[in-house]
Amino acid sequence: MHTPVTAAQGMAIGAFDLSKAFGSRKVLRGISLEIAAGDFVSIVGKSGCGKSTLLRLLIGLEPASSGRIEGVERSAARLVFQEPRLLPWANVARNVAVGLGADARTPEMARSVTAALRDVGLEARGGDWPAMLSGGQRQRVALARALVGHPRLLALDEPLGALDALTRIEMQRLLEGVWRTQGFTAVLVTHDVAEAIALSNRLLVIDHGIIALDLPIELPRPRRRGDPAFAALEGLVLDHLLSS
């Protein structure tokens, strides 16, 4: 892993009384939330509960119907989508360079691209077409594209949802590793409770547009899924999700 640069300090963000409606349908109803710099927060909830909408509002992709957001600097925030969304006609290195907002023309930019690819374990694949990679590798390239600009806020919208179980665990380890070395603030939307518990310091359950549960997760890292404390937390959150 390359050494974190000073710019990659986490971003502290806050949302105050945030609401969002699509037509007459209220997706979020007055959410207030503060996230500390460098924290790792997971947002879980049933399909259609508004968790992805909250993430998109937080990073300024969509305007809120009411309420305000503080501390978010758009240019230092990056989003990883559920799908890799790589440009099929650009090789891996040029796809990563998209995260720099320009082609990697200067040697410094090319070095950043190489470093980001090394962070996700794909330094040898810079010249390949995305079509030559596996699904997990493509999502790693998408992660490198998000990391290459040294974001201070990384928003992840179910980034591992489409991967098989083993690849998903590998990617979770990778994600935890880069978060710990680079110190950005991470906000992960996921439907996988175990994933949220494995990765985050804090877990939010969104239900019917409000925060139904705000749970600190203080298990020591690295976390093991078989661990009784892990299983107890997972049971607690699942009960909450299923009873609501």
Binding site: S75, L79, F81, R85, W89, A90, V98, G101, R145
Partner: protein, 256 residues
């Protein structure tokens, strides 16, 4: 079967056919008036090449085809881009163009002759009109079907409008634009054959019509072969371009 063996194997069929044809002609089974022997066609080609008239006719026909393609293709491409990226342009232009598209462009031939006479401009106009529609339609369609998720990604990652166009929209539409180009090339030769056959004083089509007057079946046959070769050449050139520009796609990669 290995790749090399298959490359040779595809020649077997045409070769057998040529040998049978030559044999049937030599033994008098096919009269030369109906169908000249392959060797006779070859000799006619050699004779006209040495006299300089064949290279001249090929050059004239190719130039007409190319000029018409460039004019009709660039107008079609430009309008396709415009209607592809702008809803307003789409609303203003596309319905009319779709309506005109239903007129077979060769039906305009008498009108075109009235407008332009039997001049060079008439033939170029017809070719341009013929290639316009496939290139327009496929450019427009290609741009409209670019993956919206990629466009959203570009926006989220702060791409300018120009970058969005150059890095996502245009490359995303390229495969479709090539489909349009290949259709256009077919229409280009077809239009030229009709235009040259009906009204021209030079070119391959003119050569064929003149030969018909003197019942030179070998020269008529030669002109057909030349048209086929020119068409094949244009198609192969497009294939090479596709292999180069669409190398990223498993569907177009070399050997795929």
């Amino acid at each position: 079967m290995s790749g090399a063996a298959r490359r040779w194997a595809i020649w077997i069929g045409p070769l057998v056919l040529l040998v049978l044809w030559q044999g049937a002609s030599s033994f008098g089974a096919i009269p030369a008036r109906i169908l000249p022997a392959p060797i006779a066609v070859l000799q006619a080609g050699l004779r006209l090449t040495l006299s300089g008239s064949l290279p001249h006719d090929i050059a004239v026909s190719s130039a007409r085809a190319l000029v018409g393609l460039v004019i009709g293709g660039s107008v079609g491409f430009a309008l396709g881009l415009l209607t592809g990226v702008s809803r307003l342009a789409q609303a203003l232009l596309d319905p009319s163009l779709q309506m005109i598209r239903n007129i077979p462009h060769l039906a305009l031939l008498p009108l075109v002759i009235i407008w332009f006479g039997v001049e060079e401009s008439a033939r170029i106009f017809l070719v341009a009109l013929g290639v316009f529609f496939p290139i327009y339609l496929n450019t427009y369609h290609g741009i409209r079907t670019v993956d919206p998720q990629l466009i959203e990604m570009g926006r989220v990652y702060g791409m300018s409008r120009w970058d969005l166009f150059g890095k996502i929209i245009l490359p995303g539409a390229l495969a479709s634009i090539f489909v349009g180009l290949r259709f256009a090339l077919g229409i280009m030769w077809l239009t030229l054959i009709v235009a040259e056959t009906l009204a021209a004083s030079s070119g391959i089509g003119h050569m064929a019509i003149q030969a018909r007057e003197f019942v030179q079946t070998d020269v008529v046959m030669l002109s057909i072969v030349i048209y086929a070769l020119l068409g094949k050449l244009a198609d192969s050139a497009t294939r090479l371009l596709e292999e180069h520009w669409l190398a990223w796609s498993p569907a177009y990669a070399k050997g795929g």
